[in-house]
């Protein structure tokens, strides 16, 4: 397979995954800000949404204040934000168009249809209800695309590169949510587990649609250490770092087997997976969750670079 084709497949998936992630952040943030301030609303949530999306500098350059209108506009349709939902879907479609023949027609339909539909949303001023519908629509686009890929793609290198894009992006997104929530939302003197936190932590779970899963897994009230356990180490939770790396490692091994050659990417993924499998959440908290997450984000983007060097250039 052409390196450029593999590269585009990888990025199509990453962009679709990222668009969905942005929709989830916006959805969860509006929910949180609608709460009375005693329950954690009306705080720095919109600023934190920008941080979670990883575009603080671009946002600061475009707007001063982080309020609902500015942030929603910036994360959805703003042309100067390379990672707005609009630009993610545009990039996904543009990459897809360049490698049309490597996608199944169902995948192309999902992206091309989304792109045509998007222009309709972009043109009108949306009220809250319409905006909520728009966010649902974005999540749905990702579901349809993902489902099409899963159901229709031949299980060969094209599929594996496309899946790698999904899981590298998803691991990055989950890690960013954890990173930001610890540092922006938690006031320095507030005890973890106070009533204020409850709604902020449930917001985290909503952002990764894991609130129900949490209750099924732990059968306990929402606690930060268990949330961290669920999102970092629990392999049954499809957005956890461990689950993402299980998939990444599996798809890299499939590539290695098909090509008859293992390389630095396989070794890197296996090492990260081993760390996640052999660590307990208590020891992560002991050594500092923040440091752990920061290291993970760097390590994950390091793997992305390694995959690029090994296969995509």
């Amino acid at each position: 397979m052409l390196s450029r084709t593999a590269d585009s497949l990888y990025w199509v998936s990453r962009y679709v995954e990222r668009a969905e992630y942005l929709a989830r952040i916006l959805d969860a943030t509006s929910r949180l800000t609608n709460l009375p301030s005693a329950y954690g609303g009306a705080g720095p949530e919109w600023q934190s949404a920008v941080s979670t999306a990883g575009c603080e500098d671009e946002f600061a350059a475009a707007y001063g204040e982080a309020n609902e209108r500015n942030v929603c506009e910036f994360l959805t349709f703003h042309p100067d934000n390379p990672s707005s939902i609009r630009n993610c879907l545009a990039q996904a479609r543009s990459n897809a168009r360049a490698v049309r023949t490597a996608l199944t027609s169902e995948m192309w339909d999902a992206l091309n249809g989304a792109w045509l539909e998007l222009q309709r949303f972009e043109k009108k001023r949306m009220d809250r209800e319409e905006f909520a519908r728009f966010l649902d629509w974005v999540k749905n686009v990702s579901l349809v695309f993902d489902g099409s890929a899963y159901r229709t793609m031949l299980r060969d290198d094209g599929y594996w590169f496309s899946r790698l894009g999904v899981y590298i992006e998803r691991a990055d997104n989950t890690a960013r949510i954890l990173d930001v929530k610890y540092h922006v939302l938690l006031p320095a003197n507030e005890q973890v587990g106070g009533s204020l936190d409850y709604f902020q932590w449930t917001t985290v779970l909503r952002e990764v649609s894991a609130l129900t899963a949490y209750h099924w897994v732990y059968r306990e009230a929402v606690k930060p250490i268990l949330i961290a356990d669920l999102l970092i180490l629990n392999r049954r939770m499809p957005r956890s770092l461990a689950a993402c790396y299980e998939s990444i490692s599996r798809f890299l091994d499939a590539l290695g087997d098909a090509y008859g050659r293992q390389g630095p990417a396989q070794r890197h993924a296996r090492k990260t997976l081993a760390t996640l499998n052999n660590t307990r959440i208590e020891s992560i908290f002991q050594h500092g969750l923040h440091e752990f997450i920061e290291d993970f984000i760097v390590d994950n983007s390091g793997l992305s670079n390694t995959i690029f060097e090994q296969y995509l250039q």
């Binding site: 397979m1 052409l2 593999a6 192309w108 091309n112 090509y259 250039q313």
Partner: protein
Amino acid sequence: MVAFDEMTGSGSELRPAYDALDRWLKEAPPETLALRRSQAELFFRRIGITFAVYGDEESTERLIPFDIIPRVLTKPEWTRLEKGLRQRVTALNMFLADVYGPKECLKAGIIPPDLVYRNACYQLEMVDFQVPHGVYCHIAGIDVVRVDADTFYVLEDNARTPSGVSYMMENREVMLRLFPELFATHRVAPVDNYPDQLLATLRSVAPRSAPSDPTICLLTPGQYNSAFYEHSFLADKLGVELVEGSDLLVRDDVVYMRTTQGPKRVDVIYRRIDDDFIDPLVFRSDSVLGVPGLIGAYKAGNVTLANAVGTGVADDKAVYSYMPEIVKFFTGEEPILKNVPTWRCREPQDNAYVLDNLEKLVVKEVNGSGGYGMLVGPHADKAQIESFRRKLKASPEGFIAQPTLALSTCPTFVASGVAPRHVDLRPYVLSGANGISCVPGGLTRVALKEGSLVVNSSQGGGTKDTWVLDA
């Protein structure tokens, strides 16, 4: 000027090939036609069959309008046309081999040498170079127009990188989906074997050193090119990689593509990039679309380019005017397909006539294409005519002129209902090491504006499905 109509001839008869179609048109309520047309448009938009119009900021991707009423040719009409096309393309290939080789036709005075030597498309790189299997123009698109029941003229030869064949195939696909009942009552010759024929053609011209299963790829300028849809469509149907210049590299005069498993050797390149952009080391050095070193690999005999470099010298509009003589010289036969009578503005007498009759003539730039840079006298206003008069006086050698032909018309579904519109036809002719092939029909282009003679998609033209009836 009353044009010949494909369905009704001079207007009073019903030509037999259109019998059933005429009945169907009379029975089908206009709402049904309108509904089918919007379904067709939806189909084309969903599959993303779009083209880009250069200089059109508004929309970078547009649909070519599709007309649901097919254009029909009878088997005998097609058989004669095909014979003429084979003859013409044979002559084009022989002409190219000659002007880059022994130059017999120049020595015999068939064509003025400066038309060849001073032609911007004549590539010195190609002189005395033996192209693989002697084939230059592997894929040709010959534009023909019809003026009466028996006469087809060649309007233009496209010997570089002719496009539109994906529309030929997709038009048929959409017709089969929307009007299955019409295909039950007509025995229409299929066109969907075109990719197989193209693949066989490309395989047949692989360098002799290549393995028996040569690696073929399709080289595109990328997704911002107006024909990108077609490039990806063809690559898919051929089952070959669609590559951009940056996907290829040349090492020791061998071409490779960059794959996830390392470099892979390439034997045949169906290139849809113009000569000028194909290799920055030899042609335009500012080109980022091409592949540095590609021409070196080509001349070392390690890769086949289809079409060959330098074929543009054969489809130049000034050279065109000599095609009847060229056909006769190389094939020893009378040309089966006529040329449109052409005034060569480079010749003072001709130019004087053209300048006196601008309002009656069609004037074309020798190197223009796509309907850009052309004057249709009867439809032009005074200012346009005067501006062309100045251009003609300044550089007469850059132009040719032809009478305004009464291109045949074909019933077309337009806003006011079914009405005649002018059409042309572009059949695609493939030349490989084992001979020539040509799928029945081709792409019919239709000028949707009433009375308009310009069928180019960039100028508001549309397309139709083209049927060759088997019985």
